[in-house]
Symmetry: C2
Subunit: 204 residues, 2 copies
């Protein structure tokens, strides 16, 4: 209905996650009518990012640098390594603010059905870090999904073989969450993982 080039722009905007036909149209009109400078900046940022953003040679997070800011920060605790699925997970943990060690980003999880094996997740690099760094603890923060758990299991075994203490972040009812609105799977896990009220230990 719009001209071919505008329809192409609307189509390209629709590839963005969470953008439906109406939003894409509104975005295209806004850029063309109100802010072509912003459109140009977005085009350049996209091109530069595609061309230059790769992975940190130590933790595999997305960065245009050889070594990311977190890996390059000598004040981070080098005895602790946290394994996550995505760069966004690193950000979420940093924003929580109580972890001060280093990271390793898998960019996914083991998924034999999709042909994603250890090699795709940088396990060789992780192995090298497990054997060469003064690590005391490996925290596995993959997602609490079937694939995330299988990946956690796989990594935990590798780390144990290197004599490193492995832990998994806790899963359960979110702080401030109301039981009524928590899904059954989470609630079942929360019951199975319950801890004793007085001793602080786990009931069996």
């Amino acid at each position: 209905m719009f001209s071919p080039l505008i329809e192409e722009l609307i189509g390209a905007l629709r590839c963005l996650p969470g953008v439906g036909p109406k939003s894409a149209q509104r975005m295209a009109m806004y850029l063309l009518e109100k802010d072509r400078d912003a459109a140009g900046q977005l085009a350049r940022a996209l091109e530069q990012s595609i061309e230059r953003v790769g992975r940190c040679s130590q933790c595999r997070t997305l960065t245009e640098q050889e070594i990311c800011a977190l890996c390059g920060n000598t004040r981070r605790d080098e005895k602790s390594l946290c394994v996550v699925e995505t760069p966004a997970d690193v950000l979420a943990i940093e924003q929580a603010g109580n972890y001060h060690g280093r990271y390793f980003v898998l960019h996914g999880h083991l998924s034999p059905i999709d042909g994603i094996g250890p090699g795709d997740l940088g396990m060789d690099l992780l192995e090298r870090r497990l054997s060469s760094e003064p690590l005391q603890e490996l925290i596995v923060a993959t997602n609490p999904t079937v694939e995330g758990e299988a990946t956690a299991q796989f990594i935990a075994e590798r780390a144990r073989a290197h004599g490193i203490v492995v832990s998994r972040i806790a899963h359960g009812v979110p702080i401030g969450g109301e039981l009524e609105y928590i899904d059954g799977g989470t609630l079942a896990h929360a019951f199975n993982s319950r801890t004793a009220f007085f001793s602080g230990g786990r009931e069996s």
Copy 2:
């Protein structure tokens, strides 16, 4: 928190209407992690659009062509001209499907405070069309805002000077809308513009 280039991309995505910091981050991660082809296509579509999309020489809608598809369609009724504020309004009216005439796009409304006068809205071109085309009716479909009404008034007087019948689209309670949820201004307008039930004329 992400690398400078990724933060730049997130910032550029935030310029899109309706995109907050969380969505922008999710979009950037999606493009860089999952679909760099889509990112490249979006960059190219933006660049091409900025460079080539201008305005139709007859109706001023956005197009990369000299004359848009609607103006170039000889089967459209050339006796009727509809004036709208934006190219998206043209699409909305086309989708409604009961208007078959031609259009004129103002790209805004009169707004002395913002320094937007008749010249910015293409009134010279509109005047030329009013005096040279076989128009019988001008339908003013500017928005029912203070500025939209003032703009409608301005255009109506010009058209009347050319002996053309001028009409304004009806405003009131949307079909299927529930009174309970309609804003007071719309409802007040709907009462003031009420029509007689039996004669079909307007009560005074």
